[in-house]
C-alpha cells in the first residue's frame, strides 16, 4: 500500500502530511510514492534515522544552522530522468550536466554539514570525483558550461570569437566550437557513466535527508512520539488526533486525550451518540498508518504491532455511480476484510457502526456474526456500534458519556452488554425542538 492511496482516508492523515515541512517538491512526491513498511527491521531503521535528526533539531532549534540546512534541501530537484539517460549511455546537454553538477555539489555540502554533527547520510565519497569532472577549474560554483579547460582547441576558437568583429566569422567559429563541445560532452558522459548508479542513490539519500529532517521537526511541532514495536498488544496512552485538536483549538476548546489498549480479541466500542466513538477509531487508524510509514505517533507513549493489511470501513460510502446504496457499499467493504487472504494476526480492521442503515433486527444479526467470523480468523478488530451485541468473543469498551451535563470521552471496560440509551439526553443538550423529544419520550414510556 502506498502512502498516496491512504492519504485521503478520513482519519486526518492529510493534515499530518501537510504539517510535514518537506523542503523540496521531489521529496513530497517521493513520500507519496512510499510503500508502507511491514517489517520490524524497516520500521526500526527509519525510526532510528529520524531520532538522529531529532537530536540535531533539538540542539540547533534556535540557530541558523537548521534554517540553512532546510534552505539547501529546498534545492533538491527531480533529476532521476537525467540520471536514467546517463546510465543509458545517452549524451547529456548543458542543462542536464548542470543538474548533475548541482546535485553533486549540494549532496557533498549537505553530507559535510551533517557529518560535523555525527549524522551519516550515506553519500558516497566518489561524489567528489563527479564534481572534479564537472568542475575542472575547481571553482565549486554551481554553474556549468563546457569549460575552456576541457580542450585547448576549444579555448583557442573561443578566443578567436572574442577578437573577431565580423559576424559571419563569429557564426562559423561558433558552429565549430559547438561541434567540439559535443565531443567533449560525449567524453564527459562516458567518464560519468560508472557513477550513474551512485548518483541515483545520492538523489534518494538527499530526499531521505529532507524526509527525516521534516519528520523530526514535525515530531517536535505536533508533539509526536515513537512507539515501541510489540508482537501482539497494542497500547496507546494519552492519544490525540492532530487534525481534530487543531480544529478544536481554533474554537478555544481542548481535545480530551484518550487511552486505549487492545490485542487480538475483537473490541467493541459502545457509548452514547456524539461520545467520540468514531474519533477513537479514526485516531487509532491514524496511529497505525503513521507508525507503519515511520512517523511519530500523537501519543504520550505507545506499543504498536506491525500489520500487513489495514482496513478502515467508515462513514457513508454511498456510490451513485455504481448504483450501490450506502448499505451495499458498506457490505462490500466489510466483505473485503473477510475475504482477505492474509494471516489474521497481520490484519487490523476498524469498522465504524456496521449495518447502521438497515433495520436493527437484521443489523444486530449481521454485526454479531461478523464479530464471530473475525474472531475465528484471529483478526484484530475495533468496532463501534449502537446495537446490543451479546457476544463472549469480544472485549467491550464504553465511552463514559454525559456526566453532569458534560461529555466525558474517556473509555472504560464495560462487562455488560447493554448499550447506553442517552440519545434523547444528547439531543436535548443540543437544543433540538422540545416538541419532538417530548413525543419520543411518550412513545418510549408506553
Amino acid at each position: 500500500m502506498k502512502f498516496k492511496e491512504i492519504i485521503d482516508s478520513s482519519c486526518g492523515l492529510r493534515y499530518c502530511f501537510e504539517s510535514l515541512p518537506l523542503m523540496s517538491g521531489y521529496s513530497r512526491h517521493y513520500m507519496l510514492e512510499t510503500e508502507m513498511y511491514t517489517t520490524e527491521k524497516d520500521i526500526k531503521f527509519h525510526q532510528d534515522k529520524v531520532r538522529e535528526y531529532s537530536e540535531f533539531v533539538q540542539k540547533y532549534e534556535n540557530k541558523n544552522l537548521l534554517c540553512s540546512l532546510q534552505h539547501q534541501l529546498s534545492a533538491i530537484k527531480d533529476i532521476h530522468e537525467t540520471i536514467e539517460n546517463l546510465s543509458l549511455e545517452k549524451t547529456l546537454d548543458d542543462i542536464e550536466l548542470f543538474e548533475i553538477k548541482n546535485l553533486a555539489l549540494l549532496s557533498s555540502k549537505i553530507s559535510r554539514i551533517l557529518a560535523k554533527h555525527y549524522i551519516n547520510c550515506d553519500i558516497s565519497a566518489s561524489i567528489e570525483e563527479v564534481i572534479n569532472i564537472l568542475d575542472p577549474d575547481g571553482n565549486r560554483i554551481s554553474t556549468f558550461y563546457v569549460y575552456d579547460r576541457y580542450s585547448k582547441e576549444l579555448a583557442q576558437i573561443r578566443q578567436h570569437i572574442r577578437c573577431t568583429k565580423d559576424e559571419d566569422t563569429i557564426l562559423k567559429l561558433t558552429i565549430e566550437s559547438q561541434e567540439l563541445e559535443i565531443h567533449i560532452r560525449e567524453k564527459i558522459c562516458k567518464s560519468l557513466l560508472k557513477y550513474s548508479k551512485m548518483l541515483k542513490e545520492t538523489l534518494e539519500a538527499m530526499v531521505l535527508v529532507d524526509i527525516y529532517l521534516a519528520k523530526s521537526v514535525m515530531n517536535r511541532d505536533l508533539n509526536l512520539n515513537f512507539p515501541t514495536i510489540s508482537q501482539s498488544d497494542n497500547i496507546l496512552k494519552s492519544m490525540f488526533n492532530p487534525l481534530i485538536k487543531s480544529l478544536l483549538k481554533e474554537k478555544g476548546k481542548d481535545f480530551q486525550n484518550i487511552d486505549i489498549s487492545f490485542n487480538d480479541k475483537p473490541v467493541l466500542i459502545i457509548g452514547s451518540n456524539m461520545g467520540g466513538k468514531t474519533v477513537v477509531l479514526k485516531t487509532v487508524i491514524l496511529c497505525q498508518y503513521l507508525f507503519q510509514f515511520g512517523f511519530g505517533l500523537p501519543v504520550k507513549e505507545a506499543e504498536v504491532s506491525i500489520r500487513k493489511d489495514i482496513f478502515f470501513c467508515a462513514g457513508d460510502g454511498q456510490d451513485e455511480k455504481e448504483g450501490i446504496s450506502s448499505f451495499g457499499s458498506e457490505m462490500k467493504r466489510i466483505d473485503e476484510v473477510i475475504r482477505c487472504q492474509t494471516n489474521g494476526k497481520d490484519i487490523l480492521a476498524l469498522i465504524d457502526e456496521p449495518a447502521r442503515s438497515t433495520n436493527p433486527i437484521e443489523g444486530t444479526a449481521l454485526v454479531s456474526s461478523l464479530i464471530k467470523i473475525l474472531y475465528k480468523k484471529n483478526i484484530s478488530l475495533l468496532m463501534t456500534t449502537h446495537y446490543n451485541i451479546e457476544s463472549k468473543d469480544c472485549q467491550r469498551l464504553k465511552v463514559k458519556g454525559l456526566e453532569n451535563g458534560k461529555m466525558n470521552y474517556s473509555l472504560r471496560p464495560s462487562p455488560s452488554g447493554e448499550v447506553p440509551q442517552e440519545a434523547l439526553n444528547v439531543a436535548t443538550n443540543m437544543g433540538i425542538s422540545k416538541e419532538w423529544i417530548a413525543e419520543a419520550k411518550k412513545i418510549l414510556n408506553n
Partner: protein, 318 residues
C-alpha cells in the same frame, strides 16, 4: 550616446514597442551594445518569445538580439538548447512555460540567442527578484508585441518606448497617438492623505455606481475603461473627485474621451509610475511606407517634451 547613462540609475528597465516593427529590438541592441558590463551585472529577459529571425506575422526580416560577453540572459530550456552563443548556465528556476523551465545564463563569448521569458508578470517579478541574488543589478525586459504590461511599475522602474511608421503612417496621427501614451505614462502620482474618503470601484460592475457626496477619491480596482470614464463624466462634482488607477497599464481609454474629461475639469492620477526615459522611432513601416525621420523626431519631441531618437539612422557610436 543618448540616454545610456540615464539607464544606469535604475535597477530595471523595460523596452516597449507600440506596434510590431517599430524598432524595439534595434533599440534593445542599441542599449545592449553600449551598456558597460564590467561594473554591474546586466540581464536581459522578455515576456513571451523574442529574437526570432523572421517576423512570424508580417514575414519581414527581424533583427536578432546580439549578446555581448558578460551579459546575463533569461530564456527557456528549448531556446537555450538552440542558442548560438557560448554561455555558462547559472540557474534553473521552477517557473515553467510551454518551452520548458526558465533559466538564467551568462554569455562567455558574443553570439545570438532567442529570448523567451515567463508568460506572466508575476513570475517575471519572481525571476527578477531571484536574479538580484545572482549578482544582477539591472534587469532589462524586452516587452512583447504591443504589450505595455511588462512596463508596469510593479516590474520595471524605467522604460523606453519605441514607436514608428508601423503604428501610423500619418505623422500627425502617429504623434497624437504616441503623445497620448506618454501622457498616460506621465500621469501625476496620487496625493496620499489619511483624510481622503476613498471609494473602490470596479469598471466591470459599474453600471449603477452611485458616488456618495463625501467621496473625494474614486479608486478603479482593475482596468479603467472608456465606457466607465464616459459615465463618470456625468458626475456633478467631477472637478472635486480624483479618479485614481493603479498604474498606466490599467488604462484603456480613447484620447478624445480623456481630453474631454480634462476639459470638464476631471483629474486622473496613478498610484505608481515608471520613469519614461526616452522614445525611439522607426520611420519605416513594413509595408514600405517611409516618413521623414528628422521631422518626425522634432514634432514628436515637441509634443511630449522628451528627447526622441532615430537610433538606426543616426548610428550613434558604440
Amino acid at each position: 550616446m543618448p540616454f545610456i547613462k540615464e539607464i544606469l540609475k535604475y535597477k530595471s528597465l523595460s523596452i516597449v514597442g507600440l506596434e510590431k516593427n517599430v524598432g524595439k529590438t534595434e533599440c534593445l541592441n542599441y542599449i545592449l551594445n553600449r551598456l558597460p558590463f564590467n561594473k554591474r551585472g546586466v540581464c536581459i529577459t522578455s515576456i513571451g518569445v523574442d529574437g526570432e529571425k523572421m517576423d512570424q506575422v508580417t514575414a519581414t526580416e527581424k533583427p536578432e538580439i546580439h549578446i555581448r560577453e558578460g551579459l546575463y540572459f533569461v530564456t527557456s530550456e528549448k531556446h537555450y538548447r538552440s542558442r548560438e552563443v557560448i554561455s555558462e548556465l547559472i540557474d534553473i528556476t521552477d517557473e515553467n512555460t510551454s518551452l520548458g523551465r526558465i533559466l538564467t545564463a551568462r554569455a562567455v563569448a558574443p553570439g545570438k540567442v532567442m529570448l523567451s521569458g515567463p508568460a506572466s508578470t508575476a513570475s517575471l517579478a519572481r525571476i527578477m527578484k531571484k536574479n538580484r541574488y545572482l549578482g544582477i543589478d539591472l534587469n532589462i525586459i524586452d516587452g512583447a508585441l504591443s504589450r505595455l504590461s511588462s512596463a508596469s511599475p510593479v516590474i520595471s522602474e524605467a522604460m523606453v518606448l519605441a514607436t514608428g511608421a508601423a503604428y501610423s503612417a500619418n505623422i500627425k496621427t502617429l504623434v497624437n497617438k504616441t503623445a497620448f501614451v506618454c501622457e498616460m505614462i506621465n500621469l501625476p502620482l496620487a496625493t496620499k492623505s489619511e483624510n481622503n474618503n476613498v471609494m473602490m470601484v470596479s469598471s466591470l460592475f459599474s453600471n449603477n455606481v452611485k458616488i456618495d457626496d463625501n467621496v473625494d477619491v474614486v479608486y478603479i480596482n482593475g482596468a479603467l475603461t472608456d465606457r466607465f470614464m464616459k459615465k463618470f463624466m456625468s458626475e456633478k462634482r467631477l472637478s472635486e473627485i480624483e479618479l485614481r488607477v493603479k498604474d498606466f497599464t490599467k488604462i484603456f481609454i480613447e484620447p478624445q474621451t480623456y481630453h474631454y474629461f480634462i476639459k470638464r475639469g476631471g483629474h486622473l492620477t496613478c498610484e505608481q509610475k515608471s520613469k519614461l526615459l526616452a522614445v525611439t522611432v522607426n520611420p519605416t513601416a513594413p509595408n514600405g511606407y517611409n516618413l521623414d525621420s528628422d521631422m518626425l523626431c522634432k514634432t514628436l519631441s515637441e509634443a511630449i517634451g522628451l528627447p526622441v531618437y532615430d537610433i538606426v539612422k543616426n548610428k550613434y557610436e558604440v
